[in-house]
Symmetry: C2
Subunit: 386 residues, 2 copies
């Protein structure tokens, strides 16, 4: 198996980008990544996207984007795993290079969730859950996460403001990220006054509906020296990568408060990289909801069960804390264009590892982990890069 | 790169299967393939599917199906490239094994197109075309193919009944396939009397809307001897595999009558397999419309431009002809559950190569090619197996 490296990254700002269509967003991220890598061609494009069929009446997005980017004649496909679509595409791109099928592969994540005429974004997001056993009965995707959070608070006797620190940390970091959707810090009072969306999830527990695209260029590690990357400290290498699934429906799980797929995929990633949680310099968590941050930290070995919420403080998860998370704003503040998020996380990890993270730079960051979740924990993909 | 082999196949009958949901169809094909291969576990499932988001309000189908099949904890993802989704999933599964990421990989294709409450299947199929530059203006997917066929008849002075032989051949072969949707032979009069759908495409030029699922089990070729396959002549090996794209919108092509992506992907496949068209014992074409059979035969080296329609006769494409096509009924007679078709074609090639094709058996078949088309020629994936 060939080792795989990232030689270029690109991203659009995240937000309600009404003047940019899906293909235009993808083009901006891909052309930026190709320029960053110094390549003018590619052998394949794998596109992470969840909602183009439901919201844009457009499938076949892989070829659409390849065509629009002038990448004709190459392999192109869309990879979908709900909100983990972006990282599922990174997995496929990595396999394409590792196997020798391709040498230069672009992986992009794109989601266009706003300004979709006559479509229901909430219904679209519910397609990540089980249509017949969950969504049909009226529960939204936020509703499912609210049920998990409610149960967590009950089981572990957790106070209402316990999750505020995750949101405060994300916003503090997002304030320094020019690509973040929200660039304002928030305080405890802002959190406590935020309107409820689905009890107990409030506006500050929840990531926003938005548009965005991110891209990376992958090559065999042996080829890296042939490219002049735009980074001060050269290419970033994919050290470990694993994907695991759990039941799609939350009610089918033995314990809905434990992210089994996060445990499996992170244990595989630790094993492949020959590291322990203590070796990581940062961890990009999938903080679509603050409860997911708590559960991820528990399942990946940073906290005991029922104790993840206690880490929502600067000394634990801040930029100078024990394990910095959401270092560029996370899904909460940077934004969560669902099929793009898994690629944004990798792009941001590369920024950290190449000293390009600006005011949010983790000093001497050498090893990063990033975890992308599809559904309410049903597909979880973990990467380690260094 | 590890060589990859197919050790098990499974398929459901194709038809309007109102009593089976998408997950049940997938389960039937996957469990049949696993039984055929003699495996009770897998490392990953890659699912080809196009329309679950548009017609079933269900994304995240990879994990849904893995969960329903009892394959928990493994990697799962959906791969989508319109009507080439099934074969795009075969590509990804092959990369997963070839790279060493996984050892036992299931690739399934599933589509549920009938009995979809309150959904418009024609609008769903149009998501394979360019939503902004084609579908928005009202052209359906049949309409796009009709424009291509009309132009072909004009440019090459082709008579109206010239395409009948493709349909007659498909139905003759489908009559002997117990999994085919249509098991009745047709004659020239049936073709000529068929109602027009979109001039000049009539009912007999066009593949049906239907449900179905097919699956294969992939392992490294080195592992084959460890499994007791259900086939008389053992495993089938993936000799060549290539995917190419063209412009999504037909009007953007230099020549809408030449399938550039079929040419590129078949030339790559010939090169990888070190064979020429003359070496093939059968060719599973993507006969979604009869015009596509003619164009495929031209672009893959069996006929000169404008001459593909002249091959629509038994001596050319019949079971004993120069290059047998649609040997189990093709998309026209077996049926075209869009995201599953690319996997059905591989399953049928395996039947031929292992002497399991029943009355349609090609004598001493040793080398098969199968080509899967997404959109009106925008994504074309070619495999050679032996």
């Amino acid at each position: 198996m060939r080792s795989v490296s990232i030689i270029g990254i690109g991203q659009t700002p995240v937000g309600e980008l009404w003047d940019l269509s899906a293909r235009q967003l993808a083009y901006q991220a891909i052309s930026a990544a190709m320029a960053d890598a110094g390549v003018d061609r590619a052998d394949a494009l794998f596109l992470g996207n969840m909602l183009s069929g439901a919201l844009l009446d457009q499938e076949h997005m892989g070829t659409l984007v390849a065509d629009f980017c002038g990448l004709r004649g190459i392999e192109a496909a869309k990879v979908e795993a709900a909100c983990a679509s972006g990282r599922a595409a990174v997995r496929v791109g990595t396999m394409a290079v590792a196997s020798g099928f391709h040498d230069i592969v672009i992986v992009a994540g794109i989601e266009k969730m706003t300004d979709t005429v006559g479509k229901d974004t909430t219904a679209g997001l519910a397609t990540a859950a089980d249509a017949e056993y969950e969504a049909l009965h009226g529960v939204s995707f936020v509703g499912l996460n609210a049920l998990i959070m409610q149960r967590y608070m009950y089981e572990y006797d957790v106070p209402l403001d316990a999750f505020a620190g995750f949101s405060i940390n994300a916003h503090r970091n997002g304030a320094n990220n020019p690509n973040a959707m929200f660039q304002d810090e928030i305080g405890l009072q802002d959190y406590m006054r935020a309107p409820l969306i689905s009890t107990p999830i409030n506006m500050m527990d929840s990531s926003p509906v938005c548009d965005g695209a991110a891209a990376v260029v992958l090559v065999p590690t042996d080829w890296v020296s042939e490219f002049a990357t735009g980074h001060h400290r050269g290419a970033v290498h994919i050290l470990a990568s694993a994907s695991a699934n759990d039941t799609l429906a939350v009610h089918d799980r033995k314990d809905p408060l434990f992210l089994e797929a996060a445990y499996i995929s992170s244990q595989k990633a630790y094993h492949q990289a020959k590291v322990t949680p203590e070796d990581l310099d940062l961890f990009e968590v999938h903080d679509a909801f603050t409860i997911m941050s708590a559960l991820s930290l528990e399942a990946t070995g940073f906290a005991r069960r029922g104790e993840g919420w206690r880490m929502a403080h600067d000394s634990e998860i801040g930029l100078h804390g024990r394990i910095p998370i959401s270092t560029m704003g996370g899904l909460k503040s940077r934004g969560h264009p669902v099929g793009a998020t898994g690629v944004y996380q990798i792009v941001e990890a590369v920024q950290q590892l190449t000293g390009s993270a600006g005011a949010n730079q983790i000093k001497d960051a050498r090893l990063a982990m990033a975890q992308n979740i599809g559904g309410s924990g049903a597909t979880i993909i973990t990467h380690s890069v260094h």
